[in-house]
Symmetry: C2
Subunit: 266 residues, 2 copies
């Protein structure tokens, strides 16, 4: 099983959109996929047309009461299951402060379903708190969506050095950054090409051998800005269902294919 | 003194960009302005070309050690002072959990400088945790930037009912929502006009007399998507300095003027 956290503390860079479409794309390719919504906004849940789990269930129960993922997940597409979120999850940050081994709760829960899935994808909130650390402790791989803007680039160093390196050292030595996905790309803007060039050179020349991102790469597939990607969630659909011939659908199909080819499909 | 929190738990909707340009615009209009960066990402700090306060100073010291704002702030433009942030602020969420009256720390600190400023603007992180609640407890007004997309709209109800209403009831009865600013507007997309119409009708017809948003409005000024707004922070500049004749500069000048006219300038 490949397990991947989709993270970036910068808000609005396409984390949810990327998680939803990689999960859906892998499902369409015949892989068994579990998508975990670890954001109290519950946007991954909403993107699949599912209801946020209001009765204290879903990922909130897994994180705070030790509930089993298998009991809280729900099938949303053929081959795709969802562990839904809810606004109550926002309280988990404080509720877990003094719980022993709080960073390993999700890892423990995921271990119990490892044999049922080929891929587990986790959508993270725009912060580097306990929920994001739980995701990083639980997975083998990280994908970082990056809007090619200055603020997004500015936060990348913080994400790598402050959080990913520390989790790699102290909690999850197997953690590897698989790649950076350029999202919301506006062709023809100088800013986008400058930021993309910056990021490629950082990951290309980074001689530091032994850090979690030493073999990370910038995915060849660039996700272009495309209004259909913003329209689809309003219908509880993925862009593959809502606008199958759009740039958004093409780009996320390409990214799915690239991800499958990268480590060799399980 | 007018004090305004710029908040939306949805990430990447233009909170920092709006705070930076209202602060700069009000300063250019001759008002004395304090801009507070309450986001550990420190993007408001970076937008003004200032250094994140690494030695444990800045807003982190105000929040966790009771330091005075007057000692931690720095002049960034004529008429504009900044209380800078730093990544250490991310720890404040847990550090403040058991502090008595933790929600009123910022309000207390701001009271000491109330006579020095005409406007205080607070840039909030993309979450509804202790930092955002501190901002809501400390101010008289709220401005909510909203990208006209489905996910952003979806979170608005949660922001109003879960957080603003509760803070209004329990901590700060004087809290009022001044308005919603439509940001990153892409003219000609059906999605934008549908979302804007939805939001206008929600605030137009909302008969509930006695809630914090009963006299809120959608600002007439719409901030258009404009790449110059994304390029300016990379130079530590506002768009007024970087591209003074751009749509971005025009739109934020318009918004500043509307804000000044709205409650009657102090
Ligand atoms: N390539 C794209 N083109 C146009 N719009 C997009 C694209 N990708 C995502 N969007 C839209 O942009 C907004 C931000 O994307 P999304 O919500 O996926 O980001 P996020 O990183 O998950 O945000 P948050 O930090 O709030 O969790 C959403 O309204 C989404 O529908
Ligand atoms: N009107 C606009 N047109 C184009 N780009 C914009 C516009 N407003 C903001 N941006 C850019 O979009 C990105 C998101 O804006 P910004 O960082 O201000 O949002 P935010 O709500 O503060 O994000 P966060 O939730 O991470 O704090 C930034 O890269 C910014 O430079
Ligand atoms: Mg998201
Ligand atoms: Mg911001």
């Amino acid at each position: 099983m490949r397990s991947i956290a989709v993270i970036n503390q910068k808000g609005g860079v396409g984390k949810t959109t990327t998680t939803a479409h990689l999960a859906a794309g892998l499902g369409l390719a015949g892989k068994r996929v579990l998508a975990i919504d670890l954001d109290p906004q519950a946007h991954l849940t909403v993107n699949f047309g599912a209801e946020p789990s209001g009765d204290g269930g879903g990922v909130y129960a897994v994180m705070t009461e030790g509930a089993a993922i298998a009991e809280q997940m729900t099938a949303v597409r053929s081959n795709v299951w969802l562990l839904p979120s809810h606004v109550d999850l926002a309280g988990a940050e404080c509720e877990l402060v003094s719980v022993v081994g709080r960073e390993a709760i999700l890892r423990e829960a995921m271990a119990a379903v490892a044999d049922r899935f080929d891929y587990v994808l986790i959508d993270c909130p725009p912060s580097l708190g306990i929920l994001t650390v739980n995701a990083l402790a639980a997975v083998g791989e990280v994908i970082i969506p990056l809007q090619p803007h200055f603020f997004a680039l500015q936060g990348l160093g913080m994400l790598l050095n402050e959080t990913i390196r520390l989790v790699g050292k102290r909690i999850n030595p197997a953690l590897r950054v698989t790649g950076i996905v350029v999202t919301m790309h506006e062709g023809g803007t100088r800013l986008a090409s400058e930021v993309v060039a910056d990021v490629k050179s950082f990951f290309g020349s980074n001689a530091e051998a032994d850090c979690p991102w030493s073999d990370a790469r910038v995915f060849d597939t660039v996700i272009r800005r495309n209004i259909k990607l913003a329209e689809a969630p309003g219908h509880g659909q993925t862009v593959f269902e809502y606008a199958p011939r759009s740039n958004g659908a093409d780009d996320y199909r390409g990214l799915t294919g690239e991800l499958l080819a990268l480590h060799g499909a399980p």
